[in-house]
Amino acid sequence: MSGQSSGCGFLMSVVVHGDSVLNEQEKELNQRLRRLYPAVNENETPLPRSWSPKDKFSYIGLSQNNLRVHYKGMTPRHTQAASRVLLLHRYMGIGLSAQGVNMNRLPGWDKHSYGYHGDDGHSFCSSGTGQPYGPTFTTGDVIGCCVNLINNTCFYTKNGHSLGNDLRQQSQYPNLYPTVGLQTPGEVVDANFGQHPFVFDIEDYMREWRTKIQAQIDRFPIGEREGEWQSMIQKMVASYLVHHSYCATAEAFAKSTDQAVHEELASIKNRQKIQKLVLSGRMGEAIETTQQLYPNLLERNPDLLFMLKVRQFIEMVNGTDSEVRCLGGRSPKSQDSYPGSPRPFSSPSHKASSSQPYLPGFDSNCCNGVTSNKSHSSSPHSHKPCPPGSGSTLPASDISLNGSRSQQPISSSDVDMEVDHFTNGVTESSSNGFLNGSSKHATEPDDCDADMEVESAQSKRQLCGGSQAAIERMIHFGRELQSMSEHLRRECGKNSANKKMLKDAFSLLAYSDPWNSPVGYQLDAIQREPVCSTLNSAILETHNLPKQPPLAQAVGQAAQCLAIMARTGSGSCAFASVDDYLH
């Protein structure tokens, strides 16, 4: 009978006649399996956890959660074998076999079946004649089987001692299942697929192989010619910096490593500007700027435009989009004011968003920084939108806002606070996640206390920042979006991705508290990142630049290769995780 599962390497041990307690600790089992099979995706190839009740011969009985096997037959089936059994040894075999192998015979006797037999200690490799392999085994012995998919070897263990590679079984092991065969009446075998620690120190064995594989990676021969490797690495780093528009860093890096940057600085800065707008949720402005700087780009990419607009709608719901943020008395078109006149309120302030719970009555006073919190200065620190990651370089948007800049009473500590505000402001959870690069839903009130920010902001997140006008604007925008979608469908045919995107976005309105709804994840700032990178890639493509930086491509390719290796059963991938090298 064989264990349920797939053919990625496996381990198991068999206690002959053991009386191990079978109180299953599912958790321990799962943890151990994860540790032992780091590269196995159980959705694709589930690991064996017990014997399969289907793949067994009728003389075999199962009990103890399908972990105990016993022989139900009345007489030994193979008389020739039986005489030996009764005299001396238990007649049983453990091993591997492919699915569909005759279940009426001991493992090793048939094609695609391998086994180690207790009566003579021989190894059987798809044949009725065995070869001397190891010692005999009998009642009370713990026998283990380990398949190593790195060097395609298989070895058995007895009572925790490796018996050495079974040379005859040195071959490919595609889709083999652990198998045990018995034919002595009353025989009982208990199996351990990881429910308990293995008697053989398999972890230590894995440690050795992990070290070997990692040494192999570390010592992988790189370019023969001197400096070739280094300059390639430098190019990768430089292109990465340029791609993500870290212009100052890119410039400094290029200078110090003596490289040419393949994109004009102005172009990088433009992209940086747009990325910052997207990442801070100011989609309206981002779209506008893109249209100004890259005319025709969005016209030629209607799907991209649609995606941006949907995101804009979401940001409206969120209350972060400039259009809704400054609503009330003023022109709803924030784009109008940007980048031309440096009106304080139109400046893309996070302060404004942080003090999001506008009371409806404050409509007219749309100046950023206005909050119900008295302690808060109304001075526009707003000019430090400081999207995270911008580092020391000044945000591009600031540059155009000369006027307002002069008003800023910014001290460096102020800047820090700004960032904090941003973090804990509007949609506290989302912004936080954005900053940290992980969706940490920090809703603890302590957090915002520490930031001296309005606590009410946390508890009273309101649709579109709470402004009635903004809500109207949002609904209007939603209708536009709907018609745009219909238009798109007529022009370009059905697009299920677009349809779903729009449906998900609209679903936000179905909940009184969209942030805590099942579709609330969309409001998370981290969702801005894919939009941002898609837009960035589209811009780069128009310049005939790669839409992905080579570094990311290399990392992606490595991860992909590992996944393919795992799928094809190439074992070394288990000890080479890309993450181990990304610190």
């Binding site: 190891g134 010692p135 007895k158 925790g160 001692h161 490796s162 018996l163 050495g164 590679n165 120190d201 230590d204 064995y205 440690r207 050795e208 992990r210 070290t211």
Partner: protein, 676 residues
């Protein structure tokens, strides 16, 4: 013309030599400059000049730089910087050839550097230690120099806390200078264990490694150290667990191997049980792994030797090892160096292989010997390994004494198998090289070889005949005259085996060759084993009636004398039993009987032993009487009468009631002789 060329060559060399010495002399001259600043600069320049230049080093030594450097180093008026640079240069000189080291040691560098350790400056101390380390790890340095001044070891212990460098150098010095039980005791008494144990978890790999090596040399065959080690805690963890962690398979091989050695030595010293999981599940598998092909030849040698030592006394470990990772087959690879491939492809590799070939072979023989010392199945498995017997046979006549010794140990271990004696030993005529080995070999080889010979001379061994014909008796008789008790035992033991059920000719040969004088000397041998085997020989000689009568007719007087002496002296029960058995054999002879019957004193002794508290002695004595009164022989009536008169019948009668069934049966049989 040839002369002329030769002459030219020589002159060129002389010119070159002069140039080299000229520049070297310049360096030495600068050491004598009156300006200390210039001296310092001179030493620094010298340092840069000697790095990696063995010739320069040799030149400077010849030109007498060493005494001057030592003088500067010891002078308290020298600046610390100068003193430090001096020790650095000396350390560099020590890195050269063995001759350099010898010259340095002859200049008394060791006491000077040890003196330097008293200086408070750490940089200077480290430089001195580094140089001392280099000197002490050389095989030409007498390690005793570390122990001549009794204040040195405690001072070194106190320096262990100063820095990672002092830790590394000092532990390295200790591990190289601990060669005898006395050294172990000195280091132990000065707190080596407590001081070094914390270094096992040092952040520096080198320190950890050297500390570990220290423990391996300290624990070797030392019960006191081993017993202390098992109870030591390092950061709350038992030392044995620390060693187990160091054996993890992702650790460097050197560390795994040395940790396994530590645990092996602790186990052999009785501090850890052989069934402890850290031995069975960790140390043993680790050592088996070390024997695998993927490791360096040195590691494989050390792994095999350590494993052989670990399991020597324990059959269970031998059984486990014999099935682990195909060890028995794996060892066969040890005989394949230099491989034919290496000879063709790579001279360097061939050289390397050749250098290690002997070591590999002897290690494999040792391990086979240890594996097969108790279990018959394992012995069978070993002899069935490819060409095994041929390898042993050729190993017995190898030039390397280490290999010969290991091969004969292996043969000895296998010779404990009745089956192998009957089959493979005979098929391969192992007795031939064995006999050759016995002709001219050092004692340790002789002991093993003669012990093996004992087994080959067992009655059922088919090799017995050809060995007899090869004139072995003389050789064995000469062994009985050896100063070594082990050789005497083996010699007489082999003779005893040989005499068992032998024909008259062989027995006569033995007696003639050994000579009665030597025989009786052996009967008073201080070694009980020798005495026992000699009695055994006598007993084997005195079996079957004609043999008994013949030997007793020629040597009866002396034998009776010897028997009397032994029975009267203080001896163990076994000795007395064996002697009474001889007497019983004598009593079985036709004419020999009379030697007892006419010896009233002897009869009294027999009577005494019939009433002894030990059943074995009673049995042997009764046996003797039973032989004397046996009916069907001439003169039995007279003997029966005489013995009745002496009161033996009463004793026999009493013994028929004995609780021991053998004894009462024997007594009843004897009584029946009277009734018939």
């Amino acid at each position: 013309l040839t002369y002329c060329l030769l002459f030219e060559d020589v002159s060129v060399i002389i010119v070159l030599m002069q140039e080299v010495t000229a520049t070297s002399r310049h360096y030495v001259d600068r050491l004598f400059d009156p300006d200390p600043q210039k001296v310092l600069q001179g030493v620094i320049d010298m340092k840069n000049a000697v790095i990696g230049n063995n010739k320069q080093k040799a030149n400077l030594i010849v030109l007498g730089a060493v005494p001057r450097l030592l003088y500067l180093l010891q002078q308290s008026s020298s600046s610390l910087e100068l003193r430090t640079e001096c020790s650095v240069v000396l350390g560099s000189l020590a890195m050269g050839t063995e001759n350099n080291i010898k010259s340095l040691v002859d200049c008394h560098i060791i006491p000077a550097l040890l003196q330097g350790l008293l200086c408070p400056d750490l940089i200077f101390i480290e430089a001195c230690l580094r140089c001392l380390r280099t000197v002490f790890i050389s095989p030409v340095t007498p390690v005793q120099l570390l122990y001549t001044d009794s204040t040195v070891i405690p001072h070194l212990m106190s320096l262990l806390s100063r820095s990672q460098r002092t830790q590394e150098y000092i532990t390295q010095i200790f591990s190289h200078c601990c060669k005898t039980p006395e050294h172990q005791t000195v280091l132990f008494n000065h707190g080596a264990i407590q001081n070094i144990a914390p270094l096992l978890i040092s952040p520096s790999y080198k320190v950890r490694m050297q500390a570990l090596k220290c423990f391996s040399v300290l624990a070797y065959e030392n019960t006191q150290v081993s017993m202390t080690l098992v109870n030591v805690l390092v950061d709350g963890e038992l030392l044995s667990q620390v060693f187990v962690r160091m054996m993890q398979r992702d650790q460097p091989i050197e560390m795994q191997l040395t940790a396994a050695k530590c645990l092996t030595y602790m186990c052999r010293a009785g501090a850890i049980r052989t069934d402890d999981s850290c031995v069975v599940l960790k140390t043993l598998p680790c050592l088996v792994r070390m024997c695998s092909k993927e490791h360096l030849l040195e590691e494989r040698v050390e792994g095999a030797e350590t494993l052989a030592y670990l399991m020597e006394p324990d059959v269970e470990l031998q059984r486990i090892a014999s099935t682990t990772d195909h060890l028995v087959a794996m060892l066969a690879d040890y005989f394949k160096y230099p491989s034919s491939v290496s000879a063709i492809t790579d001279i360097k590799r061939l050289d390397h292989d050749l250098k290690h070939a002997h070591e590999l072979r002897q290690a494999a023989f040792k391990l086979y010997a240890s594996l097969g010392s108790n279990d018959e199945d394992i012995r069978k498995k070993i002899t069935e390994t490819e060409n095994m017997m041929d390898r042993i046979v050729s190993g017995l006549s190898e030039s390397s004494i280490k290999v010969r010794l290991a091969a004969v140990r292996c043969l000895h271990s296998l010779s404990r198998s009745v089956q192998q004696l009957r089959t493979s030993f005979h098929d391969h005529a192992v007795w031939k090289p064995l006999m050759k080995l016995l002709q001219n070999a050092p004692d340790e080889v002789l002991v093993m070889a003669s012990s093996t010979l004992c087994n080959l001379l067992l009655e059922f061994s088919p090799s017995k005949e050809p060995i007899l014909e090869s004139g072995v008796i003389e050789l064995l008789c000469s062994l009985t005259q050896s100063d070594s008790p082990a050789l005497r035992v083996n010699g007489i033991w082999a003779l005893m085996n040989m005499a068992f059920q032998a024909d008259q000719k062989v027995k006569g040969e033995i007696v003639r060759c050994l000579g009665t004088e030597q025989l009786f000397r052996l009967l008073s041998d201080p070694d009980t084993n020798v005495l026992m085997k000699t009695l055994g020989l006598l007993r084997n000689l005195l079996s079957t009636r004609p043999h008994i009568d013949q030997i007793m007719s020629s040597h009866g007087k002396q034998i009776m004398q010897a028997v009397t002496l032994i029975l009267e002296a203080e001896h163990s029960i076994e000795v007395k039993e064996q002697t009474l058995c001889i007497l019983a054999n004598i009593a079985d002879g036709n004419t020999a009987k009379e030697l007892i019957m006419t010896n009233d004193d002897m009869l009294q002794k027999i009577k005494y032993y019939m009433g002894h508290s030990n059943v074995k002695l009673q049995l042997a004595a009764t046996f003797c009487i039973s032989n004397l009164i046996w009916n069907e022989e001439d003169g039995s009536q007279e003997r029966q009468d005489k013995l009745r008169e002496m009161g033996f019948v009463d004793i026999l009668h009493k013994l028929t009631q004995a609780s021991d069934p053998n004894l009462s049966d024997r007594a009843k049989t004897a009584m029946q002789q009277y009734l018939a």
